[in-house]
């Protein structure tokens, strides 16, 4: 009996102590979570993927009506400028038809040249179309969540493109969800080519709408309006996906690039599955064996 009373007294004392230091304990727990995340990045990665997979069905349910509402608003806006839009499109159509003729001619020519030179094409890319179910946009991150994952063949490091150009790359993959890191994110570094001069550079994001071109050989060679395309270096991206165009060639060696993809109205994107051979660079006979699934390309 006495033991039981003692136990109850101790228990109540513990309870009071816990209540008194509740704030301290909670703060320590939060700090602990932060430290754990820093120490064991793989664990956090797994937790992120799990959270993503659990949240994505709910998000998909939210995303559809929101997308529908957005579309109605966009339709109404377009309705107001229908006449101007039509005139603009007609003009653009004429210009594009001229380009189409040129492109057909060049394609035929290319084909013949390749035949003559016995050129071997790179691996064929296939596409996985995905719906954007969540925005992962805050003051610190620029990204989005997709409703496709490992089951559909999505893997880390794959390129994500829109109709206009490159949007970003896959950063995390769950079973049925994936997170895209946009090219505008501060963590995004992309090997690119300047289309006109074929000069290599690195395109870096800094969370602002415009990208920064760095590691150029010479700033002087870059002109406003130059198109920037992916260079394919690093192997996980196809060559020649348009990324953006140079809009600022200021002094102080800062070249700013406007991405072609319109991140404010993304709804569907395509994930470029470039095949595993793309990851190890080249498909020659000496290429090492395919890496196991889940190899990260950073």
């Amino acid at each position: 009996m006495a033991i039981r009373d003692d136990f109850e007294i101790v228990a109540s004392q513990v309870r009071t102590a816990v209540q008194r230091f509740a704030l301290g304990l909670l703060m320590i727990a939060a700090f602990g979570a932060m430290l754990l995340g820093k120490a064991d990045t793989v664990l956090v990665e797994h937790a992120r993927v799990l959270a993503l997979d659990l949240a994505s069905p709910v998000l998909e349910a939210i995303a559809r009506p929101v997308a529908a509402a957005n579309r109605v608003i966009a339709d109404l806006k377009e309705f107001a400028s229908l006449r101007e839009e039509n005139a603009r499109l007609r003009e653009e159509n004429v210009r594009l038809l001229a380009w189409q003729t040129a492109a057909r001619r060049l394609e035929n020519e290319n084909e013949r040249m390749r035949g003559l030179a016995n050129f071997r094409e790179g691996p064929e890319a296939s596409f996985i179309t995905a719906r954007i179910v969540g925005d992962s946009v805050s003051a610190y991150v620029r990204g989005a969540l997709l409703n496709v994952g490992r089951k559909a063949g999505v893997a880390s490091g794959q390129a994500v493109v829109t109709g206009e150009g490159l949007a970003g790359r896959i950063a995390e993959v769950g079973e049925n969800s994936a997170r895209v890191l946009f090219v505008t994110d501060v963590n995004s570094r992309l090997p690119v080519l300047i289309e006109r001069t074929r000069e290599r550079a690195i395109l870096a994001g800094d969370n602002s709408p415009k990208l920064r071109l760095s590691l150029l050989q010479s700033v002087a060679g870059v002109q406003r309006g130059d198109r920037i395309v992916t260079s394919g270096h690093g192997g996980s991206f196809p060559v020649g996906i348009p990324v953006g165009e140079v809009v600022e060639t200021g002094e102080g060696s800062s070249v700013r690039v406007r991405p072609f993809a319109d991140f404010s109205r993304l709804e569907f994107v395509r994930v470029v599955d470039y095949g595993v051979t793309g990851l190890v660079g080249g498909s020659g006979p000496a290429a090492p064996a395919a890496p196991p699934a889940g190899v990260r390309i950073r």
């Binding site: 909670l26 939060a30 998000l59």
Partner: protein
């Protein structure tokens, strides 16, 4: 009688689960692809608003461990390579503690006082998250988007707070005059 008991029990459970459910909803809403120019940037701060608002009236229904879990979930979902997981949890816990310890200035006082209190706490929350994210990733992060976020959520507060006050079981603004400014945790009538 039995049906009444069951209903009462459901009612009680509903009341207890409501703040947590609303918080979870806003944590998930953070990721909703709203394409409103300023609003979508400020969405990650709305859970903090919910924590503040419910801590005013019913802090016992948002226990610390729940805030911890919600904060960690928010950080996991928001993502960002290398971003600290748990910083929102720390912020939520601190907001709750700050509100509970300063009830006398925040509960049963004119709305402007509450708003001002929220401004201070939201600024503290944004500063905390910004500092830890910059420190953790060891990069100089432009504080301007974070401050913009803060400004938007402060403007949103008067729109959202009355709604949440309706959702919540007890409204601190209904506290009788006699006990205004002196209400203690969980107390709404003198």
């Amino acid at each position: 009688m039995r049906a009444d008991g069951l209903l009462a029990m459901l009612d009680r459970w509903g009341r207890y689960a409501l703040p947590g459910a609303v918080l979870l909803f806003f944590v998930l809403l953070t990721l909703a692809p709203l394409r409103a120019p300023y609003l979508s940037g400020a969405l990650p701060l709305l859970p903090a608003l919910v924590v503040f608002q419910f801590s005013l009236a019913t802090p016992e229904r948002l226990p610390g461990p729940l805030l911890l879990v919600m904060g960690i979930l928010l950080d996991l979902l928001l993502g960002g390579p290398g971003a600290p997981v748990g910083v929102s949890a720390l912020g939520f816990v601190l907001i709750r503690a700050a509100v509970v310890n300063n009830r006398r200035y925040l509960v049963g006082v004119p709305f402007l006082f509450q708003w001002f209190g929220f401004c201070l706490l939201a600024l503290g929350f944004v500063a905390l998250v910004w500092f830890f994210t910059a420190f953790w990733t060891w990069t100089a992060i432009d504080p301007l988007p974070a401050l913009m976020q803060n400004a938007v959520v402060i403007v949103i507060y008067p729109l959202l707070a009355p709604l949440l006050a309706r959702v919540r079981a007890r409204d601190p603004l209904n506290v009788p005059d006699a006990s205004r400014g002196t209400a203690r945790p969980g107390e709404t009538t003198s």
